[in-house]
């Protein structure tokens, strides 16, 4: 808001709308405060660029109109030659390029065919976008300033931000594997702004899920997670909502299940129609009964509103795999229906404190 007031002042200053007294005052500030001065300069420059841009656009428009008028008159020749003459002309002109291109195309197609056969399993779809937010310095400062002084430790400038949620009050959090893979040190932050250190105890790249354990002594176990984790598949068209940290604050989004399989027919995931952004990765997807039915993983870069979420039953599989791996941790998944029948606002309110921001670098 301060920035808005300042920019308004700058604008009035530049337009000469200030009273003489105000003006001298502002000039004083400008002289003593290089950042304000910088802002005035930047603002002038931006407006100048904006003006120039509009001018050139209008001018281009005129050019095109004059051009089409003159083309109608015949002063400017219509494009290209027609018929056989044109083909022969083009062939002569590009004969060399075409032969080179054809041989290169031949080599490439053989090579790619080979590569495709070799790597089909490993190549990921380039349209799929992981939803981990990259934090810039400004926001980093924001995070630190929000943090209450009593909690420890202070995270050293995190680079990535995503979401996770508790599956056991003892401090087990589910998030995405691609989130954990990017981070060397992991911190989780609850909606009160308290930070805890966490470690990844299991990741599964196939379903893109990971389990974190909060290993911070400051963390107090919570009992009675109000939700349950659904074992069965959800139905097409089921209304869902999600919570996550695409910004430094928890954000709510709602939508519906739009397909029973994920990216390229992946049966371990759903396709959802819901608005999510980088930072939503690992966020819980709940149905209206307050059951967790999935975990946001990615979205389609090119198509609008196509979001993928790992199915919740994968969490059960994850725990089985964890047990088989000989790990001694016991995780008891919540089975409460504390959100059922509540209004959406109340559901979100109850849910909020169990959804964590996962940050790290």
């Amino acid at each position: 808001m301060d920035e808005l007031l300042l920019i308004e002042a700058v604008e009035r200053y530049l337009k000469g709308e200030m009273s003489p007294k105000e003006r001298t005052f502002f000039e004083e500030i400008r002289k003593n405060n290089p950042s304000v001065d910088q802002m005035v300069v930047e603002h002038t420059f931006l407006l100048h660029e904006l003006d120039k841009h509009a001018g050139i656009k209008a001018y281009k428009h005129s050019l095109n109109e004059v051009e089409s008028k003159l083309t109608d008159e015949g002063l400017i020749s219509r494009s290209q030659l027609k018929g056989k003459a044109r083909v022969v002309f083009l062939w002569k002109k590009y004969k060399r390029s075409i032969t080179v291109a054809a041989s290169i195309a031949g080599i490439i197609s053989i090579a790619t065919a080979g590569l495709i056969v070799a790597y089909t399993k490993k190549v990921t779809d380039s349209n799929k976008e992981d939803l981990v937010a990259i934090i810039d310095t400004k926001i980093k400062d924001g995070i630190r300033s929000r943090q209450p002084s009593k909690t420890l430790p202070v995270p050293p400038t995190p680079d990535y931000r995503a979401t996770g949620f508790l599956i056991d009050g003892k401090g087990f959090i589910v998030t995405n594997a691609h989130v954990v893979n990017r981070m060397k040190t992991i911190y989780v932050q609850n909606n009160k702004g308290e930070y805890f250190t966490a470690v990844s105890i299991y990741t599964d790249p196939n379903t893109d899920l990971a389990i974190l354990k909060i290993n911070d002594t400051a963390f107090r176990s919570v009992s009675n997670l109000p939700y349950s984790i659904k074992k069965a598949n959800s139905n097409l068209g089921e209304q869902i909502f999600t919570l996550g940290y695409p910004r430094n604050e928890i954000v709510y989004g709602q939508g519906y299940v739009s397909a029973k399989s994920g990216n390229e027919g992946d049966s371990t995931a759903y396709q959802l129609s819901v608005s999510v952004n980088p930072g939503n990765s690992g966020g819980p997807v709940l149905n209206r009964n307050g059951e967790i039915i999935g975990i946001i993983t990615s979205k389609n870069r090119t198509a609008d509103g196509v979001v993928f979420a790992a199915k919740s039953k994968n969490i059960y599989k994850l725990l089985e795999a964890l047990k088989k791996g000989g790990d001694t941790v016991t995780i008891k998944l919540p089975t409460n229906a504390g959100l059922k029948g509540l209004d959406r606002e109340q559901q979100v309110e109850k849910m909020e404190e169990f959804v964590f921001m996962v940050v790290g670098n």
Binding site: L4, L46, E67, K69, L75, V88
Partner: protein
């Protein structure tokens, strides 16, 4: 212009002759016009150009386009490319005219021809279709500096275009209405359906801040 099968680049004597006589014809005609078209009049043309005057644009096209097209067709190009190059030259001219510091120290025709020639030869080099230019016999002046400035303008333009595309609607229209069309905040509020001018104003500043962020992020990267 008709290309006879089998002529292509070949049959140069015929084509060369054709274009030379064509060029000559034009320059003869041009000399007559330029006897009337004094320095003052060219200056007026540029002033009109800076104001985006369509009649002026048309006049410049009429006077200069055939010459440029002949040059480009003669040098391995087609009519589409000729149009493209001429448009770009017109933009160079516009930028010069708007900057106000434009002093024409040669005939407008010579300047346009020089810019087109340079732009086209550069384009040919990029397309790797370069060969020794076939000249029209027009005189040229050095325009290297101008084109460097123009390149810079071009990048600025695309950065702004990009930034504007990314702030999305209604931000784009809002900024356009206020800063370009210079509408009053009152009108904008009613046009865009804001409850009052203050709301619209706050929204506008927010949009401007976003634009600023996007623009400078790219602008500083490009430096």
């Amino acid at each position: 212009m008709i290309f006879i099968p089998g002529s292509g680049k070949g049959n140069p004597s015929f084509l060369r002759f054709f274009f030379l006589s064509f060029g000559l014809q034009i320059s003869n005609k041009r000399i007559n016009i330029y006897q009337v078209n004094t320095f003052e009049q060219e200056k007026q043309l540029l002033e009109g150009l800076a104001l985006n005057d369509r009649a002026v644009i048309e006049a410049i096209y009429r006077d200069n386009y055939p010459m440029v097209q002949a040059f480009i067709l003669n040098n391995n190009g087609n009519t589409d490319e000729a149009r493209d190059i001429f448009q770009e030259t017109m933009i160079v001219l516009f930028e010069k005219a708007v900057s106000g510091s434009f002093e024409l120290n040669c005939q407008l025709k010579t300047y346009i021809y020089s810019v087109c020639r340079r732009l086209w030869l550069k384009r040919l080099q990029q397309l790797q279709r370069y060969h020794n230019p076939v000249e029209n016999g027009e005189e040229t002046v050095s325009v290297e500096e101008e084109l460097e400035v123009h390149e810079k303008h071009n990048t600025d333009f695309s950065i702004m275009e990009n930034a504007l595309a990314r702030i999305g609607e209604p931000c784009k229209s809002l900024l356009d209405a206020y800063y370009i069309q210079k509408k009053s905040m009152q009108d904008i509020a009613s046009d865009f359906g804001y409850t009052n001018a203050d709301n619209a104003k706050t929204q506008k500043y927010k949009c401007l801040l976003r634009l600023k962020k996007l623009f400078f992020a790219q602008y500083k990267n490009g430096q």
